[in-house]
């Protein structure tokens, strides 16, 4: 059979479909978005595919579907599990009947700008198996196995992937599908299992939870999921988990070249950090005098095997991060693994990259920025202008930021957002600063999807308590930063193709939450945006400005141009104020002066408002 080219996330989606998942649901988040993204808009009989309002909602939907005996998978990035975790704990204590897979993507090395957290810690806290694929192929087979494991133990199973596995594309032979017969939903009203009504119920559920993890431990061992290869007695051993297993061959070659004798080495490639591979650990501890543990981020496996060595009275040296040269920070390459092996074998491993250090010192800094034509630009510039008009200095007025593209106002040339905490936090933080008696008006900025995800409760809080803040909801109609997914506020014509799904207008939501002072403004109209912010800031109580204009990237994909801005070279005095204030990539300054690249300009016209000599004109196209 010809090989297919799939990413780890795409492989996970295909595995879910071929395993009979009834519900595939999640909230977008890099690096997990392509699981749903790759099958979005397609039709699969009897399967519901959905972007939920947030990860907690998605998780709860998937849990109930699995409680009804069906199979479900919920996808999210690491911080999504923080949001879902309240429900997660409750559900895993109850268990499930249908197979439930919680697919979470971590990001060691931080390619997508979120805290470098390791969600295996969540698995440890909730006694849930956490399978860790090391490759695209395993992204398929582990999701497939996770459904079977989940049904075998009657509890949810986490599949924890990482950026370089989930977003790698590889050529794989599609594994054989393990389909199931269609099931009728079956759910029994059983308060002992599905509620937390009383201490006995809760403690019984805790006991059952621990028993499920023990059952998973037996099954993983019986199914040979962990790959154990014992070498010379009294020799060296290496334990890998997740993507570090994939680096094993290459790093062994490196350390051999550095003079290490790797003959007779024992290796253990773990399929999971939890349940602990107790039997495999015992075999390694029995066979080796020293063991290197290779795992990215937190030393969970290292701790587990160290503790087991202690209890078994084995005087085996365990090398890793608690004891050894490896770091808890960043993602690993074969070179990192070889650094650990150098400690294991007592050889020197060094790479001379001095030339590269010197080369990189000449590199031009390339800060991330706002796209040409981005409607958010009008909000940042409007805020900066309004602060000035209100008689304040820029460094006196707190503007809180939120998650997604809207946080780009914290970058040059705007530098106007002060905080980035969590989904929806901008609105609550603005209230906290006000309660702290910050002496100027306080503003919050948030995107439409982020607002619907977690911004509604803090806005209700502000309305109830009459906290005088101004919230700008930057409504571009899409969940943009994660790759243009739909959200409830996305135009109806772009909701699920071929299915009836209703648009929930963010303006209606704000009205419904009791906000009386509400403006809807086009951010391309910079003077209007500025004046509205000034007006709002002077009023008491809660004010909301909905800045409404579609994401320039999405509009651009449908060839929408609003005009073309052109610099009149006769008038231009080459002051570059347009570049300094807008930071727009379409505006270029070179030996021919300042001009606008017509292939990049979408005619938003914001630059026409900032030219001191009116040298920029917006033309019809």
């Amino acid at each position: 059979m010809a090989k297919v080219n799939l990413s780890g996330n795409e492989a996970a989606a295909q595995a879910a479909l071929s395993s009979g998942a009834k519900l595939i649901v999640g909230y977008p988040g890099t690096p997990s978005s392509e699981v749903i993204g790759s099958i979005w808009g397609k039709k699969y009989d009897g399967v519901t595919i959905e972007w939920s309002t947030n990860e907690k909602v998605a998780f709860e939907e998937a849990a109930a579907c699995a409680w009804a005996g069906q199979r479900s998978i919920v996808t999210m990035k690491m911080s999504g599990l923080n949001v879902a975790y309240d429900a997660f704990i409750s559900v895993v204590y109850s268990g499930c009947t249908g197979g439930m897979v919680v697919y979470v993507a971590d990001d060691p090395g931080v390619s997508a700008g979120m805290p470098e957290q390791d969600i295996r810690g969540f698995a440890l806290m909730s006694d849930v198996p956490v399978l860790e694929p090391s490759s695209v192929l395993e992204s398929y087979t582990f999701v497939q196995y996770a459904f079977e494991l989940s049904e075998a133990i009657q509890g949810p199973v986490i599949v924890r992937t990482v950026s370089n596995v989930s977003q790698s594309h590889a050529l794989i032979e599609l594994p054989e599908a393990h389909p199931i017969e269609p099931r009728k939903p079956h759910f029994v009203n059983d308060p002992f299992k599905y509620t937390k009504a009383g201490a006995k119920i809760c403690m019984d559920q805790h006991r059952d939870l621990i028993a499920r993890l023990a059952a998973a431990q037996v099954k993983l061992h019986k199914d040979g999921m962990h790959k154990l290869s014992l070498g010379k007695k009294g020799g060296k051993g290496i334990v890998t988990v997740g993507v570090t297993s994939a680096f094993l061959d290459e790093s062994l070659e490196l350390i051999k070249a550095a003079g290490a004798d790797v003959e007779g080495i024992s290796t253990l490639q773990l399929a999971a950090t939890l349940p602990e591979a107790t039997e495999e650990f015992a075999a390694m501890l029995d066979n080796c005098e020293s063991i290197l543990v290779l795992e990215e981020n937190e030393p969970h496996v290292e701790k587990a095997i160290s503790l087991q060595a202690f209890h078994e009275g084995k005087n085996v040296e365990i090398i890793g991060k608690l004891n050894g040269p490896l770091s808890r920070i960043g993602n690993y390459t074969a070179a990192t693994c070889a650094t650990g092996m150098a400690a294991l074998f007592g050889v020197e491993f060094k790479m001379d990259t001095a030339a590269a250090d010197d080369a990189e010192s000449h590199c031009a800094a390339r800060p991330i920025g706002v796209c040409a034509g981005c409607p958010h630009r009008g909000v940042y510039m409007g805020l900066i202008d309004a602060v000035k008009k209100l008689g304040y200095k820029k460094d006196e007025v707190i503007i809180t930021g939120d998650i997604g593209c809207t946080i780009l106002g914290s970058c040059p040339p705007f530098d106007c957002l002060w905080t980035e905490v969590a989904m929806g936090a901008s609105i609550a933080m603005a209230q906290g600063f006000t309660h702290a008696e910050w002496p100027t008006p306080v503003f919050a900025t948030i995107g439409d999807s982020t607002f619907i995800h977690a911004g509604m409760p803090p806005l209700v809080n502000a309305v109830q308590n009459e906290v005088p803040i101004t919230v700008v909801i930057m409504d571009n109609g899409w969940t943009s930063m994660t790759g243009m997914q739909v959200n409830p506020n996305t135009a109806e014509e772009f909701q699920y193709p071929g299915e009836s799904r209703t648009r929930v207008d963010v303006v209606d939501i704000v009205k419904g939450l009791g906000v009386k002072q509400l403006w809807v403004v086009d951010p391309y109209d910079l003077p209007k945006m500025t004046d509205t912010i000034v007006e709002a800031a002077k009023l008491p109580g809660v004010k909301v400005i909905v800045s409404r204009r579609e994401c320039a990237i999405q509009a651009g994909r449908r060839k929408i141009k609003y005009g073309l801005s052109v610099v009149d070279q006769e008038k231009c005095i080459n002051c570059k104020r347009c570049i300094n204030t807008t930071g727009c990539a379409a505006i270029v300054s070179d030996e021919n002066g300042v001009h606008i690249n017509p292939s990049q300009c979408n005619g938003c016209g914001i630059c026409t408002y900032v030219c001191p000599v009116n040298a920029i004109e917006k033309k019809e196209v």
């Binding site: 080219n5 596995v165 594309h169 061959d249 030339a355 040059p412 570049i579 300054s589």
Partner: protein, 192 residues
């Protein structure tokens, strides 16, 4: 087959990931084991983009270690310097010398490397540098296809995936643009 690792860098919007995608499709047609890991970062356009291609190995970690690539392909002058760390001494670096200047550079507030900086860096790292001056590129040709073809001629990539498989992949991907793309490819192959 020997392993062959390719480290690609550029700026979002230039088409650097498309180069990697074409190599990947050629590998697929030839049944060469391949792992392709793109990193787009957060910028939709104008941000640093890299991709790591590992060809020829069945079991392979996705990242290329420092000094682990046989070939570097860069689509932007300044960004080419970021690939040097990953290319092994004796390896090849093909640079398309387009300058995509960040705003601070345009405003004269920040420095930008010269072609000579790149040449010195490549020499210090012991690399064979192939430099394509955009000024020499024929009119109406696609930058990335031009660069890919020049790379096929001047590196060992052609021994891993054939020229024919690459051109077939390009034609299959853009049937309508085949004429211009093949012209771009021929122009790249002609680069001395």
């Amino acid at each position: 087959m020997a392993n062959y690792n390719v480290y690609l860098v550029g700026v979002g919007g230039q088409g650097i990931l498309t180069i990697a995608d074409m190599i990947m499709r050629a590998a697929q047609a030839l049944d060469v084991p391949a792992n392709y890991y793109p990193t787009k970062g957060m910028a939709q356009r104008g941000g640093f983009v890299k991709a790591q291609l590992k060809l020829g190995a069945e079991t392979v970690g996705p990242d290329i270690r420092p000094l682990g690539a046989d070939l570097g392909i860069a689509m932007e002058l300044s960004e080419s310097l970021k690939s040097i760390r990953y290319i092994k001494p004796g390896g090849t670096l093909v640079v398309y010398g387009y300058k995509w200047q960040p705003t601070a550079v345009m405003l004269g507030k920040a420095p930008y490397p010269t072609r000579e900086d790149v040449e010195k860096a490549a020499a210090d790292a012991g690399l064979k540098l192939v430099f394509l001056d955009p000024a020499d590129q024929p009119e109406d040709t696609a930058d990335n296809i031009y660069l890919l073809a020049a790379t096929m001629r001047h590196s060992g990539l052609g021994e891993v995936v054939s020229e024919e498989a690459i051109t077939e992949a390009i034609k299959a991907r853009w049937p309508k643009g085949a004429e211009r793309n093949m012209r771009s490819f021929e122009a790249g192959l002609a680069v001395e």
